[in-house]
Amino acid sequence: MRLFHHFSIKSKLTVIILVVTVFAIVAGFGFVIYNNIETFKQDMVDNTVLEAKLVGNYCVAPLDFNYPSDAEKVLEKLRTVPYIVNAVVYDKEGETFAVFDKVENPDFPVHPVNGRLIEFRGDFLYVFHPVVYRGKRHGSICLKASTALLDRKFRTNIITLSILTVVLLLISFFLASKLQTVISGPISTLSAVAREISEKKDYSLRVKTRAMDEIGVLYDEFNHMLEQIQLRREERDKAEKKYRDIFENAVHGLFQVSPGGILLTANPAYAKILGYDTVEELLDGGINIRDRLYVEPRKREEFRELMVTMGCVTDFEFKAFRKDGSIIYISESTHAVRDEKDETLYYEGILEDISQKKHAEELKIAKDAAETANRAKSEFLANMSHEIRTPMNAILGFTELLQGEVTTPLEKQYLHSIASSGKTLLALINDILDLSKIEAGKFELHEDIVILRTLFRDIEAVFFEDIKKKGLDFQIEIDPSLPVGLMLDEVRMREILFNLVGNAVKFTEKGHLKLGVYKNAGEKDDGRVELTILVEDSGIGIPREHMQYIFDPFMQVARKIAASRYRGTGLGLSITKRLVEMMGGEILVESKEGKGSTFKVILKKIAVSPILKKDAEPGNIRKKDVRFKDAAILVVDDVESNRELLRGFLGNFGLRVIEAENGEQGVEYTRKYRPALVFMDLRMPVMDGYTAIRILKADEELRSIPVVVLTASAMKEDENAVKAADCDGYLKKPVNGTALFDQLKRFLEYTVIKPAPVEEEQVQGAAGAEEFLSEETRAGLPELLSILETDFTGKCEQVTKRFIIDEIEDFALEVKKLGTQYNLELLTDWGEALFREIERFDMEKLPRTLEDFPRLVRDIKALIN
C-alpha cells in the first residue's frame, strides 16, 4: 500500500479507475455468472426432476405390475439425456427395482425418507422423486446427473468473463489513461511549475488559471502565494542589498570571528585596512588572523581579558600588522553574540584604521608645542613692543625737548639727525612689530561702521600739503551706488590708505592722483558688498623686475631699494598686503615705469550697515573746530616722559593737567580734585591701573568720572582686559593726537566752531578770503593784527630759532586758539598744519610752515584793507 502512495497521480488515478472497473466487472460478471450458474443449476435440477417425473411416470405401470424389465426399458430412454448418468427405480419398499447405468458402480445416496431429494453431491446431482399414480405411491426414482456440463459451462463462463474482463480492463485502462488527464494534468502542470520554480529559483513563474474547480482554486492560490513570495523576496533582497551595501561599502572594517579566532566574515574595508586586496584572499587563508594581527602580544591578552569580563570591548586601540608586515594603528569595537543558552557563538565588531588620527594627534602635539613657542614669541614681541616703544617715546620726546635747549646750529643739526633717525627707527620698529603681529596672527580686526568718504577726506587732509607742493591733481571718486556705511576696521583701513596714498604721493612728481572706491557687480542678497579701492598715480612707476618683490618684506634686495630710493622702512606694502588679506581681500598692482602705478584693493563680503553711529558726526570735526570747556584732566603714569607728553597735548587743547605717579596717587587725586577725565596707565608700581580703576569704579562718588586707559601694549588680550577693567576708553601709546582728541571729545564738553571744508587752501589770497569773512570777524581783525604783530611774530621768530618742539607745539596751539577766538580760519588752519607736522615729526615741512607765518600776518593785514 505504501508503494501505491509513491505512484504518480496519473498512475494512481489509472489504478483507481482500473480497480473500480475490475471490481465492477468482476462483481457484475460474478453476479451474472453466479446467476447464470444458479439458473443453469436450477435448470438442470428442473430438467432432472422433470426427467425423474417423466420417467417415473412411465415406471408406474412397471412398478405396479412388477415388470422391472419394462422399467429398465423406460430408463433406457434416459440414455438420450446427456447429463443423466444413472437412474434407479425403487419399489414401494425402497428396494432397487430397476437400474439404468451409464457408469459403473453408482454411488447412490441413501433412500430419502419422504421420497424427495434434490442434492448436489460431489460432481453429481441426485434427484429422488416418488413415482405416484392416482394418489398411490408405487415407488421412487432416483436420477443421478452429472454436473460436468455445468462445470463446463461454469468454466466457459469464467473464461469468457476473464477474457471479457481483460478486454474491458484494457479498454478501461485506455479510457482511464486518457480521462485521468483531466485531474492529473493540471496537477502535473502545477507540480512541474513548482519544481521549475524550486530549481531555477525563479519566482516570477505562474500557472495559467483555468476552470474554477478545486484545482483552479489551488492554481489561484498558488499564483497568489508566488506573488507574495516574490514580493517578500524583493523586499528581502532590497533589505539585504541595503545592508550588504552598508557592509560592503562601509569605510570601517566589519567582521565576524569565531571564538577560536578564525575570521568568519569580513567586508572589503576590513581587508583593505589589513592590506589585503580582496576579502577572499583574507578568508581563504583560514588562518587565525588574531594570532598574526597583534604587534604587541600583551595587547592581545588585554583584549581577551576585557572581552571575558565585559562581554564587549569598545575603542580598543592597538598596533597591528598588515599583510605586508607594515604596522598600523587600529581601533576595535567588538561584542560577543550569544545563543539562548548564553554560549558565545561568535564575535562581531568594527575595525578602524586610526593611524591617521594617531599621526594627527602626534602632529597636534607638535603643533601645540609650536604654537606655544610662537605664542611665547608673540608675547615676547608684544611685551617688547611696549618696552621698545616706551624708550623710543623718551628718545624722541627728549630729543625734541633738547632741540629747544641747544642753540648752536651744529648741535641743532645733530639733534635733528638724532630726531630723524629716531623717527625712522620708531617707524621701522612699528612696522616690524606690526608685521610680526600679523605673521603671528595676533592682529584682530575690529569692525565698526566706517564712512569711506570721511576716511578719504582724512587721508587727503594728511597729504594735502605735499600734494599741493608738488602741484599734483588729487581726485576722490566714490561710487554712488556704494552704501554709505560699511563695516570695516577703520584703523587698518586708515593704515592701508595711508600707506598706498602715501606711496603714491611719494613717487609722483607730476600729474595726478586718484583715490577711488567702486562697488563690484554681482552683489548677493545677503547684505554684503564687494568693493574695489583704487589708488592711481602718474608717478615713476615700478620696474618690472621689482614687481614681484614689492609686497615681500623679506626680499632684502627690494627692501633695500625701496628703503634707499623711496625712503621709509620698505615694509609698508607688505603690511598693507597682510592687512588686506586679513580682511579677506586681495591687493593688485599695475604699473608702467615712467607712466604710473595703480593699486587696487578688492574687499569681499563687506557688510553694509544701514544705520549710522549715533554719535558719529560727519567726522569732519577737526581738532581746530573744537573748543573744550575748561576742565581738569588727571594723568596717571609712572613714566615722567609719558606724563610730559600728555601734558603737552592736553595743554594745547587748553585743558588743565594734574599728574599722578601711581595708582594710589591717582585714586587720591581723583578723590581730591574730581577731574573731568582720568588718563590711567596700567603698569605702575605701588598700585597698578587695574586696581586703581576698580577702586574708582567701586566708589559711588567717583564711578562717574570717566577713565581712559593708556596702554603701551598692542596686544588684543590686553585690549580685552582693558575693556573688562570697566574703563571708559583706551588709548594706545605712543599717544596720537587724534586718538587723544577723540577720547576727549567723548567725555568733555566742547563747542564746535563752524567747520571749514578741507579743500580750502590754508592761505588764501585776500580777495578769496574776503568772501568768507563774516562781519563779526572783520570787525575783530584790527585787534587780531595788533596782537599778531606785537606778540606772535616775535614769538614765532623765537620759536623758530630755538626750534624746540614743545614750544612750537605750544605756539601752534596758541595761534589756533587765537584763530578760533577771532574766528579766522587762516590762523586756525596754519596752527593746525603746524600742529600736524609736529605730530608727524615732519621736520621737513615744519620749518617751512614756521617761515610762512610772517606772510600769513601780511595776508591778514591785507584783509583789513
Binding site: 405401470a61 412397471p62 405396479d64 405390475f65 412388477n66 415388470y67 419394462d70 428396494e95 399414480y133
Partner: protein
C-alpha cells in the same frame, strides 16, 4: 457327506433368506391370485365413461365371470376385502348374454371360446372391460388378454377394441402391454 449337508443347509438358508425379503409382500405365486390382483390394478389405468357410474361409490363394481372359471374363487376371496375404484366389488356368474350388460368387467375363460365372438359382439360397443387369459382372444376382440412370458404374467391390449368400447386405457398401460388389434381388419 458332510459337504453335501453343508451345501443343502446353505441352500435352504439361502432360500429362506431369499424368502425373507418377501415377508410382508403380497404373494403372487398363485397365478389365480395374481390375475385377480391384476383386475384391480388394471382398472386404475382405464377410464370408464360417465354412464358406467364409476363416480358413484354406492353402486358396486361388477365383475362378471362367464361360465365357470377357476379364477372365480380367487376373485371372490380377494375382492370380498378389496374395493375397486372405491366401489364394492360384486362378482357375478354370468349365464346369459343379457347378464353381461350390468358388468363392468367381464372375464371370459378359455372354456367360452365358442361364444367368444358373440360375447365380443355384445360387448364391443359397451363400456365393458373384457378380460381373458387365452391365447388369441385378444385378436378376437377381448380388450385385455393375459399371457405368460417367462415367469411373468403379462397381458395384451386390443386398443381399437378399447376405443369401440368407449374405454380409455392409460398410456402407461399401453406401454407395458402387448398391443394387438383385431383380426378381420376391424379397427
Amino acid at each position: 457327506m458332510r459337504k453335501k449337508v453343508f451345501i443343502s443347509l446353505a441352500l435352504i438358508l439361502l432360500a429362506g433368506l431369499t424368502a425373507l425379503p418377501f415377508q410382508g409382500k403380497p404373494v403372487y405365486e398363485d397365478e389365480c391370485r395374481l390375475k385377480s390382483f391384476f383386475f384391480e390394478k388394471l382398472t386404475r389405468y382405464i377410464k370408464w365413461p360417465e354412464q358406467s357410474g364409476m363416480s358413484d361409490r354406492t353402486t358396486p363394481f361388477v365383475i362378471g365371470i362367464l361360465g365357470e372359471s377357476l379364477l372365480a374363487p380367487c376373485l371372490k376371496e380377494l375382492y370380498s376385502q378389496k374395493t375397486i375404484l372405491r366401489k364394492k366389488v360384486e362378482i357375478r356368474s354370468i349365464e346369459t348374454l343379457g347378464g353381461i350388460y350390468g358388468c363392468h368387467i367381464i372375464f371370459i375363460p378359455s372354456s367360452m371360446e365358442k361364444i367368444l365372438k358373440t360375447v365380443i359382439e355384445v360387448t364391443k360397443n359397451e363400456p365393458i372391460l373384457t378380460i381373458a387369459d387365452s391365447s388369441g382372444f385378444g385378436e378376437q376382440g377381448v380388450l385385455i388378454n393375459f399371457y405368460t412370458a417367462g415367469k411373468k404374467l403379462r397381458f395384451e391390449i386390443n386398443e381399437p377394441a378399447f376405443r369401440r368400447a368407449s374405454l380409455t386405457p392409460d398410456s402407461r398401460l399401453l406401454e407395458i402391454a402387448r398391443v394387438v388389434k383385431s383380426r378381420g381388419g376391424e379397427k
